[in-house]
């Protein structure tokens, strides 16, 4: 999990204690993935067990300070020089839901799509509002947070585009349905019958 690597990267900057690590993580990612302090300390304990960090005593107020080891530095370097794995697509509940909606009888697929489009659009509006605020800051941490927001914006935008695409494909499939053609012919015959 990336929390481990993120904390190591923060310790490479300078020795820090648990609360500081959490504050730094959230400052740069805008509380998008909230960390609790318990999680930070469990992770630090594992990093220490694996020899990637070591205790560096306490500060004046009794906080336990951690510093990175040479093995830890190597792990951070490795993280930054390796792409994030894409071997298996992450499980996507929406894609699964749509796949089932188009096959299970009796589901109003159009309504499923529109309901999701509205929800995703509302999230996109929220990200955009947050972005307008983030853009006001000029520190390096504000830039980091703004880039995380951009990532959320791009993902939501891609989801809306994909939903538009699904809708257009479904419309076309509906028109190309053989029964649709039959229904049309029957309706025409009924019309002719009526006009005779």
């Amino acid at each position: 999990m990336s929390v481990r690597q993120a904390l190591l990267a923060l310790l490479e900057e300078e020795p820090r204690y648990g609360y500081q690590l959490r504050a730094q993580f959230e400052q740069r990612t805008g509380s998008t993935w909230p960390l609790n302090v318990g999680q930070v300390y469990t992770t630090l304990t594992r990093l220490e067990r694996d020899g990637l960090v070591e205790g560096a005593g306490e500060d004046g107020e009794g906080h336990v300070i951690y510093r990175i080891t040479d093995a830890g530095r190597a792990e951070v370097a490795n993280w930054f020089t390796t792409p994030v794995e894409r071997t298996q697509p992450p499980r996507d509940e929406l894609a699964i839901k749509l796949a089932l909606a188009v096959t299970v009888p009796g589901v109003d697929v159009g309504a499923v799509i529109q309901q999701q489009r509205s929800a995703t659009m509302a999230a996109l509006q929220d990200y955009t509002r947050l972005k307008r605020r983030a853009a006001e800051g000029s520190r390096r941490e504000d830039l980091a947070w703004s880039l995380v927001l951009d990532s959320l914006v791009f993902a939501a935008e891609a989801e809306v585009r994909w939903l538009d695409h699904c809708e257009a494909r479904l419309r076309r499939a509906q028109l190309e349905r053989p029964e649709a053609l039959l229904e049309e012919i029957l309706a025409e015959e009924a019309d002719e019958e009526a006009s005779r």
Binding site: G30, S31, T32, P34, Q114, R117, S118, T120, M121, A122, A123, L124, Q125, D126, Y127, T128, R129, L130, R132, L152, V153, A156, E157, V160, R161, D164, E167, A168
Partner: protein, 240 residues
């Protein structure tokens, strides 16, 4: 607060008989001061029709369109033209600037046509160009400006004279994404300053600048987003 734009049960039918097209079917819609509303929908869903009706460029087959409480059908063609010079600003996808006029002349035109003295009109136009960040290009001709700069002039022309209703039809269509975003920032700032805005777009990223997003399908409003809960999200320290 009372709406700047109100459309009540508006229907627009083009053609007759076999070629009849229902571009809008009984659409009700409002835009309030300070509000930016985005209209989204597939092509042919009636977005441009809605906007031309709101701007008085076209009339409804039935229903009522009113701007600042004035029924557009009740003021005649001259009255509607007057409102387009004073209270309604329209931004087109292809800018629609007059090539023979400089930026400042293009922006001053609606004011001058409305009888404002030339010097006053130019001063107002320069202020509007300043507001959209291109005061230094006032004396350039449209052909000597980039697409983004031309669209800024078009926006200045749409807001000059303190117009209360800004209508924009795919104003970012021909622009790269960063320039498009700066255009959205301008529209947003205008609405934050008290105007009502209606933005037609097919880009979700641009519609997201709006307070509300209205979805059109086959001439019908099928859905709408609107809740403002960014503050609640911030307070809770999470996004989703």
């Amino acid at each position: 607060m009372s709406a700047v734009l109100r459309m009540a049960e508006v229907t627009r039918v083009h053609g007759e008989g076999a070629t009849e097209v229902h571009a809008l079917r009984s659409v009700s819609f409002a835009a309030h001061p300070g509000e930016l509303v985005a209209v989204m929908g597939p092509s042919g869903s009636g977005k441009s029709t809605l906007l031309t009706l709101a701007g008085g460029l076209d009339g409804p087959t039935s229903g009522v369109v009113s701007v600042e409480g004035v029924d557009l059908a009740g003021v005649g063609a001259a009255g509607r033209a007057r409102m387009r010079r004073t209270s309604i600003g329209y931004v087109f996808q292809d800018f629609n600037l007059i090539p023979a006029l400089t930026a400042v002349e293009n922006v001053a035109l609606p004011l001058e046509l409305d009888g404002v003295r030339s010097r006053t009109a130019r001063a107002g136009a320069r202020a509007a160009l300043e507001e959209v960040g291109i005061a230094d290009l006032a004396d350039r001709f449209p052909d000597h400006m980039s697409g983004g700069q031309q669209q800024r002039v078009a926006i200045a022309r749409a807001v000059v004279g303190d117009r209360r209703l800004i209508l924009a039809d795919e104003p970012t269509g021909a622009l790269d994404s960063e320039t498009g975003e700066s255009i959205l920032r301008l529209l947003r700032a205008r609405c934050d300053a008290g105007a009502a805005g209606v933005l037609v777009t097919h880009e979700a990223r641009h519609a997201a600048w709006a307070d509300r997003v209205v979805f059109l399908r086959d001439g019908v409003v099928i859905d709408e987003t609107g809740a403002d809960h960014a503050d609640a999200l911030l307070d809770a320290g999470r996004i989703r």
